[in-house]
């Protein structure tokens, strides 16, 4: 008799839980995959970058590398970028494995390996936004954080987003931020955007979820300047003394 009662009670609890879970699932389905407020905040921050005539930023970046054993190691570095639309880009990356600088002036793109003092030049498209696509296709790489540097960054990013929501609030450095999370086809993004004043991205975490070990790339932005004075000299390359010139190996298709 007692066993029957216990069994009945368990059944009731089970049904209640199942109903509750089912309700949650329905609610979750009803909830939009992309929360409008998350999209609005993200778009606003990206639109500011896209609309800027020029800007500079300095960031601390960390890239994961998954070893064949599955163990992950991180390679930290600092990245400085100066951009002037429509045809100026300079960056400096100083990392554990290499130090690199690149220059783009609307005529050529030059990459210099500082450690070995070796550089290569490549005749580049006239406009910055064409540079990235062309580089990817012909050289097999793009400058660090290049997706953020495009004029239409907001549109392109939101096209890729399949879902997104506001995770919460936190402080990056000394800036109060909204923490957002987005999903795309190949990557997931987490973004921290300043809560007050003009929206500024303070941190990005990109998760390459389809790669073995799901490595991440983290960029924490230390400074942004949306009104820098950038002369032509910033984007003009002059070979350092003793530098060896080489070629870019074209992508084999």
């Amino acid at each position: 008799m007692n066993k029957k009662r216990i069994r009945g009670a368990l059944l009731a609890v089970g049904l209640a839980l199942a109903t509750a879970t089912g309700t949650s699932a329905v609610r979750a389905q009803e909830k939009p995959a992309l929360e409008p407020e998350a999209a609005r905040i993200f778009t606003a921050a990206l639109a500011r970058i896209g609309a800027a005539k020029s800007f500079t930023f300095r960031a601390e970046v960390i890239g994961d590398s998954t070893l064949p054993s599955g163990q992950k190691v991180q390679f930290p570095g600092t990245l400085e970028v100066a951009l002037r639309r429509p045809n100026g880009l300079w960056n400096l990356f100083e990392g554990e494995q290499r130090t690199e600088r690149s220059w783009y002036d609307g005529k050529s793109f030059t990459l210099l390996n500082g450690g070995k003092n070796v550089y290569a030049c490549w005749p580049a498209p006239e406009k910055l936004d064409d540079l990235f696509g062309s580089m990817k296709e012909k050289l097999g790489f793009i400058p660090p954080l290049a997706p953020l540097l495009r004029e239409n960054v907001a549109t392109r990013a939101m096209e890729k987003v399949t879902s997104g929501f506001i995770v919460g609030r936190s402080v990056i450095g000394d800036t109060k931020c909204r923490h957002l999370a987005f999903r795309g086809g190949k990557t997931d993004w987490q973004v921290w955007i300043s809560e007050h004043g003009e929206p500024v991205i303070k941190r990005i975490v990109i998760t390459y979820k389809l790669e073995p070990g799901a490595p991440q790339y983290v960029a924490t932005f230390l400074t942004w300047d949306f009104a820098p004075r950038l002369s032509d000299a910033v984007f003009a390359f002059t070979p350092p003394e003793g530098a060896v010139q080489c070629e870019f190996e074209p992508v084999q298709r």
């Binding site: 290499r98 690199e100 070796v118 290569a120 050289l139 097999g140 080489c246 070629e247 190996e249």
Partner: protein, 260 residues
């Protein structure tokens, strides 16, 4: 004499005999008294009138002897405890050393594993050509003969015996070695798998590994310490041993391509 008195006297006699026996056991310097007086008590300062009465004196002597006995026992116990502590300290030290060695081995294994995966493994066993040492290669070195020249091969490095010392040389093509060194980068060639280790190329041959000269176009992502730079027809090239490389950016990463 009452039974109680007899008992007390026997007890006293036993006590005296016991003390005398104990005195014989102790070193003379300790038991030597001042004339017929018992030795001065350790409690002199506490009890300056020790010789005011004989009984008091004995009492004091007894306490002194007992104190000495206790201290002797305590000393032995302390020695035993100290020995135990030393033993425990040794055990702890050995455990720590073992743990440190295990940790080091674990760390080395991780390092070796990661270094094997990275482009330029730094810290693996490597000596650049020209390096000379009196003791030469390690005990695990194996004799390898190429073109009548006897080499010693150890962990990817080839040594030649020169007088009283050993000198590191670039790997001779055609040498057959039993294993590729830790940290070698595996490559896939049209002819099969190959390994690269600090300017030396290995490929499988009859269950062992053969050192071979790389074909033109083969690319590596680091050159070992000891390469030289030279300009050929105005182009900057790098030479390591008999192989000439040109720098090239592959997907933005600096690499070195064999040109001859």
């Amino acid at each position: 004499m009452s039974g109680a008195g007899m008992f007390r006297r026997r007890l006293t006699a036993c006590g005296c005999a016991g003390i005398a026996g104990l005195a014989l056991l102790l070193p003379p310097a300790v038991v030597a008294g001042d004339g017929d007086r018992p030795p001065r008590s350790f409690n002199d300062n506490r009890n300056p009138s020790w010789n005011d009465s004989w009984d008091d004196g004995w009492d004091d002597y007894n306490r002194t002897m007992m104190q000495m006995q206790r201290e002797s026992i305590a000393s032995r116990e302390e020695q035993a405890r100290e020995a135990g502590r030393v033993k425990r300290r040794d055990e702890v030290e050995k455990t720590q050393q073992k743990a440190a060695a295990e940790h080091e081995a674990y760390f080395d294994a991780i390092l070796a594993e990661s270094q094997a995966a990275l482009n330029a493994p730094a810290g693996v066993f490597y000596r650049k050509p020209g390096y000379t040492a009196a003791d030469g290669p390690g005990a695990g070195a194996q004799a390898v003969e190429v073109g009548g020249i006897p080499y010693a091969y150890d962990q990817g490095i080839f040594w030649l015996h020169r007088g009283n010392s050993y000198v590191v040389v670039t790997a001779p093509a055609g040498a057959i070695v039993p294993a590729v060194p830790a940290g070698a980068n595996r490559m896939s060639l049209k002819t099969g798998p190959a390994w690269y280790f600090f300017g030396t190329f290995f490929r499988e041959k009859d269950g062992a590994y053969e050192i071979f000269k790389p074909p033109a176009g083969l690319t590596v992502f680091y050159l070992p310490d000891g390469y030289t730079q030279e300009a050929v027809k105005g182009v900057g090239l790098y030479r390591f041993g008999e192989v000439l490389y040109k720098p090239v950016f592959i997907q933005g990463i600096l690499a070195y391509q064999v040109v001859e």
